[in-house]
């Protein structure tokens, strides 16, 4: 039962990702990206971490594609030109090698999922990983300031 659900979910995720990569219409690609991320949030639900799922939903599935759409609008780009054929073949070879290389390590057969409560993550986040947490906040601040500075029109 759950395997069926997983299969459907995984299939849709992969399909969405493929659309992102292969669609020549960039708006569709962005929508597919949102769709893929939305389904990945479902994956996190299955992994017993609603917290992660909702964060994935709010940030990756909602905010980031909207930002992407915004940029698409601002730069008035619509279509994606494909790369030259030879390069596509090279990339394909690399990708296959990559997937194959990763495949070699995929023998894990654990079956039991340990769910995690939001409180657990929160406590953990603010105790052991407090320093990375603070660093992340600084990173976000820097990103914010950096984005403003970069995107600001320089007035002559």
């Amino acid at each position: 039962m759950s395997l069926v659900a997983f299969a459907i979910l995984a299939g849709l995720i992969l399909a969405g990702a493929l659309v992102v990569v292969f669609s020549s219409n960039i708006v569709r690609a962005a929508v597919a990206l949102a769709f893929t991320f939305f389904l990945i949030a479902g994956l996190y639900f299955m992994l017993g971490s609603p917290m992660l799922a909702v964060v994935q939903f709010a940030v990756n599935a909602a905010a980031i594609p909207i930002l992407t759409l915004f940029i698409i609008m601002m730069t008035r780009s619509r279509s994606v030109r494909p790369a030259s054929g030879i390069f596509v073949l090279v990339a394909l070879a690399v990708v296959i090698a990559f997937a194959g290389g990763l495949w070699a390590y995929l023998g894990a057969a654990e079956t039991q999922v340990f769910p995690v409560s939001p409180e657990g993550i929160g406590l953990r986040l603010l105790s052991v990983t407090l320093f990375p947490f603070e660093v992340a906040s600084v990173l976000l601040l820097l990103a914010m300031v950096g984005a403003i500075v970069l995107a600001r029109r320089v007035e002559e």
Partner: protein, 394 residues
């Protein structure tokens, strides 16, 4: 209310004897609104109380099939609630705007025009769903659907009474934030898909506005979460047992109120559609069912955002129970009644704001979000943490 002379040649005289469309009929209207409210309440009681109780008592929920059916039925009921709310609110809003603007509003379909929406819906369903030539058909169709789904998603998390909630998420507050962010998709995609200038401008405005106001909104919600110590909405409501959050959390309340009106894209924040400037903005090219979805979504949100105000700040379902056992069915029904009443009051306030205030300029809009609300929301967050640590524990 003044009587307005109507040109006879544009007016089909109704068949009903003695009916005069120019004459207001407050008695009929009140009766109709009461009936609307009652039917909504009945639907809520059925969806939240009767059906789960039935399934639970028969033990159907244990089997996979029973659970599947339960889920389907609940989803349909939720959709039904959303549809009913939208249908009711459309006519109520039109009537109310009419009253504010000193006219009678819709009067022709149903007694005193109370069935107007039904005919509106029929008209929209009957119209050709037209898509201009240069649009991306997939995105064009997807946009209204996403809009409606995002509004509908929030409904799932709202608790209407003690134990009466469709999905009691332990991250409900974050879920609300996420779902409301999703609402921006429909607008942006809708504007983007049309390929026209109005749509594009509307999409720009909507995207900027929704994303900007998302930030203070989320911070205000977070303040409530910090203060009540839980992200679960029913816990937040329980936490207001003694004192409604509106008192200690007044600043987040204000922020949330303004930001949710902005999320609603209604006046004074209706820049994305702004008929006088953008001919409808992101929904310029929509017609028929697609337009109806946008429309529905808007009115479902007009119900849900006030409902969240009630849940987060005005004690949710809390009210006098007259000695009833809070776990009993009757008490829960009463609680859902309180909840709906409070929500109705807040819906009215939202309508009132919409009817009276003029529209912002877009730079004022941004200033308000980033320079006004954001610092206020941050202050509210700190205040909430302070209260949580030093006042409430003592």
């Amino acid at each position: 209310m003044s009587r307005m002379p109507l040109p006879l040649d544009r007016h089909i005289k109704p068949k009903l004897v003695g009916y005069d469309p120019t004459r207001p009929r407050p008695g009929v209207e009140r009766l109709a609104y009461t009936l609307f409210f009652g039917s909504l309440w009945a639907l809520v009681v059925v969806a939240y109380g009767l059906v789960p109780a039935l399934f639970r008592s028969q033990g159907w929920l244990d089997g996979a099939l029973g659970f599947f059916f339960y889920a389907v039925i609940e989803a349909l009921l939720a959709f039904g609630i959303a549809a009913v709310v939208a249908l009711i609110l459309i006519v109520v809003l039109r009537k109310y705007l009419g009253k504010v603007q000193e006219r009678v509003g819709p009067m022709h379909y149903g007694p005193a025009g109370v069935l107007q929406t039904v005919f509106d819906a029929l008209k929209l369903l009957g119209k050709e769903d037209f898509a201009p030539a240069n649009v991306d058909p997939l995105i064009f169709r997807l946009a209204p659907a996403i809009t409606f789904v995002s509004a509908f998603l929030m409904l799932v998390a709202v608790p209407v009474a003690g134990g009466w909630v469709m999905a009691d998420l332990n991250v409900g507050l974050l879920f609300i934030v996420a779902a409301s962010t999703l609402g921006a998709y429909g607008v942006v995609l809708g504007g983007l898909a049309q390929g026209g200038k109005w749509g594009m401008l509307g999409a720009f405005r909507a995207g900027a506005q929704l994303v900007s106001y998302e930030v203070p909104l989320a911070l205000a919600l977070l303040a409530v979460g910090v203060y009540s110590g839980s992200l679960r909405l029913s816990d937040i409501v329980e936490h207001q047992q003694g004192l409604w959050h509106v008192v200690p959390m007044f600043i987040p309340f204000l922020v949330y109120l303004v930001a949710s009106i902005a999320e609603l894209k209604s006046t004074p924040f209706d820049l994305p559609e702004a008929e006088s400037e953008l001919i409808g903005g992101f929904n310029t090219e929509y017609s028929g069912m697609s337009f109806a979805f946008f429309f529905l979504a808007e009115f479902v949100e007009l119900f849900l955002l006030p409902a969240l105000v009630v849940v987060l700040f005005f004690g949710g379902w809390h009210g006098p129970l007259f000695g009833l056992d809070p776990a009993s069915f009757a008490a829960q029904a009463l609680q859902s009644f309180y909840f709906l009443v409070k929500t109705a009051v807040w819906v009215w306030i939202f309508m009132w704001i919409r009817a009276t205030l003029p529209r912002f300029r877009d730079d004022q809009l941004m200033d308000l979000a980033w320079k006004g609300l954001l610092p206020l929301a941050l202050f509210g967050l700190i205040l909430a943490a302070f209260l949580r640590m030093f006042v409430e524990v003592v």
